[in-house]
């Protein structure tokens, strides 16, 4: 295929525009990183753009020595890990029978699940119900409401449907029970879908904000996102902390460091996120 000069110019222009867009996408991150490493003087003079001015670790030293932030971090981390494991167990347990045509309740149960997607319960009775279960100011509220989602259930069910029936029949003849079948044969050969769905759940739980702000009022139980919102919101603790003399940080550099602190875990697992989320987006578009 020969490319004309015009075509080459066209492609070049598009590539150029996309590079600019890619850089624009990163600018908000760059500027907040720059601010987190900048000095009080630079922040007060409003001269921080994309690069740290008056490089200092003062803001970072302060926020990393804040036990409250670490506590929130570990609350988020532990609830995310426990929640993801629990979610994978509940989701695979329900998806497996739903993928079987000889399970008589399958059709009705799918309707039971889909109904919840198309008519959503209003927030207030939801709030009252969950509070009534004793989940107000209870860390379990960061886990239990997220252990099953109709979307993830559908992805897993589609995947299980493709599992070769002959393998299961052979195992059945060898005296394998249904639970053993799921945990010893089906699950070990479904690692790709488990990773995808697991990451979907994990990101939802790690990033969750609506449940914490509705149900968690004790500051000691705040997960990371809520803690960050409390810290960076105007008129917060940071304003008072930075008002002291002889420190090399300001309210804005402390906020910036906190935001970067919360971004780091996501960036750390980003290669996996990118790979498996793309897989999930594909699987999600296949219905069975």
């Amino acid at each position: 295929m020969t490319e004309s000069i015009k075509d080459k110019a066209f492609q070049g222009a598009i590539t150029f525009i996309l590079c600019i867009l890619g850089i624009i996408a990163l600018i908000p991150l760059l500027t907040v990183i720059a601010r987190s490493f900048s000095s009080k003087a630079a922040a007060d003079m409003n001269i921080i753009n994309l690069w740290p001015v008056g490089f200092t670790l003062a803001s970072w030293k302060y926020i990393l020595s804040d036990p409250g932030l670490w506590k929130a971090f570990f609350i988020s981390l532990s609830t995310t890990i426990i929640g993801t494991v629990l979610a994978l167990a509940v989701t695979s347990l329900m998806a497996y029978p739903l993928s079987k045509s000889n399970f008589k309740l399958g059709q009705i149960l799918m309707l039971y699940v889909i109904m919840t997607m198309i008519f959503k319960a209003p927030v207030v009775p939801y709030f009252l119900t969950v509070k009534g279960m004793g989940l107000f100011n209870n860390p379990l509220v960061l886990i239990l409401p997220h252990i099953l989602s109709a979307y993830n259930l559908a992805i897993m069910r589609t995947f299980f449907k493709q599992f070769p029936a002959e393998v299961e029949e052979a195992a059945m003849i060898d005296g394998c029970g249904y639970f053993q079948m799921l945990y010893k044969i089906v699950i070990p050969s479904s690692k790709a879908v488990l990773t995808t769905v697991g990451l979907f759940y994990a990101v939802t739980m790690w990033n969750q904000f609506q449940h914490p702000i509705m149900f968690i009022q004790k500051t000691g139980l705040f997960p990371l996102q809520l803690k960050i919102r409390q810290l960076i919101n105007g008129g917060s603790d940071f304003a008072n902390i930075a008002a002291v003399a002889n420190v090399n940080y300001t309210e804005s550099t402390l906020s910036a460091a906190t935001v970067v602190f919360a971004i780091i875990p996501i960036i750390a697992i980003y290669p996996w996120l990118q790979k498996y989320f793309a897989k999930g987006a594909m699987l999600g578009s296949v219905k069975g």
């Binding site: 590539t15 921080i48 509940v90 347990l93 329900m94 927030v123 029970g177 960076i232 906020s255 990118q274």
Partner: protein, 318 residues
Amino acid sequence: MSKKKTSAAVNMGLPKSKTSLIANIKKFWPYYLMVMPGVLFFLLFKYIPLLGSVIAFQDFSVFKGISDSPWVGLKHFKALISYPDFRRIFANTLILGLCKTVLIFPIPVFLSLMLNEVKNLKLKKTIQTAVYIPYFLSWVIVGGLIFDIFGMGGLFNNIRGFFGLDSILIMQKESWFRPIYVLSSIWKDAGWGTVVYLAAISGIDPALYESAAIDGASRFSRIKYITFPLLIPTILTLFLLSIGSFLELGFEQVFNLLTPMTYSVGDIFDTYVYRVGIQQAQYSFTTAVGLFQSTIGLILVLSFNKLANKFSDDGGLW
């Protein structure tokens, strides 16, 4: 012997479908056990709250509970229609929904058509990596980044200063709320939105492009006459589904971008219900608001899902 007897009795006493269900349970009982936790989950977190919506027809008080609170019929629904606050949040929700559909929805389409033109694979991967990152950040973080950029001494005001303009705090300005909503949505989600389109593009038969190239079609006309037309079913499906979720603007996004100064334009159903319903405990009235929203949502989802199924075989959600 006794087993035979009971099954015969069952056969006589019950309709056929029920006996076969019992036989199915007997044979596949582990399946029924496996779905229990999931069934319980949907019951507790979806269906019981739905039943709890009856408080919209009561003057509900937590101390009396549902059984003892007085029934008031449609009082709250009547109040809602004549309530100026309700009209304002309804209008805000519709305007933001319209922005979402008209301004935000098309961006990933253009982005993926452009990304497909980048022939250097390493460069393409790098660009994709950069534009996908924001999708994985929470709205608290994105809100934090946006307040940082547009705050005093933020990048935006520094650039204004460079051109000799005064600093303005646009996050506190009503007229800027909607543009910020649109821009933040695009920044966070548009990159990721290309994934499905790029997959659809990669499924297009390369022979089509080859013969077009032989006929002397330029790259632009190949996009215009091959890629774009073949992408239309995907676009249409996603478009119909997006209208189906017209009212779901995202509590977390709006809440994290809102300041008390921008309530007049930025307050939507979700943020209003949170503030007035949960924080100020006006349970019955805000449940009526929620039911109104869910009902419109139901109508939208049902009708547009039907349309989506019409346009492509498995386009709809179900």
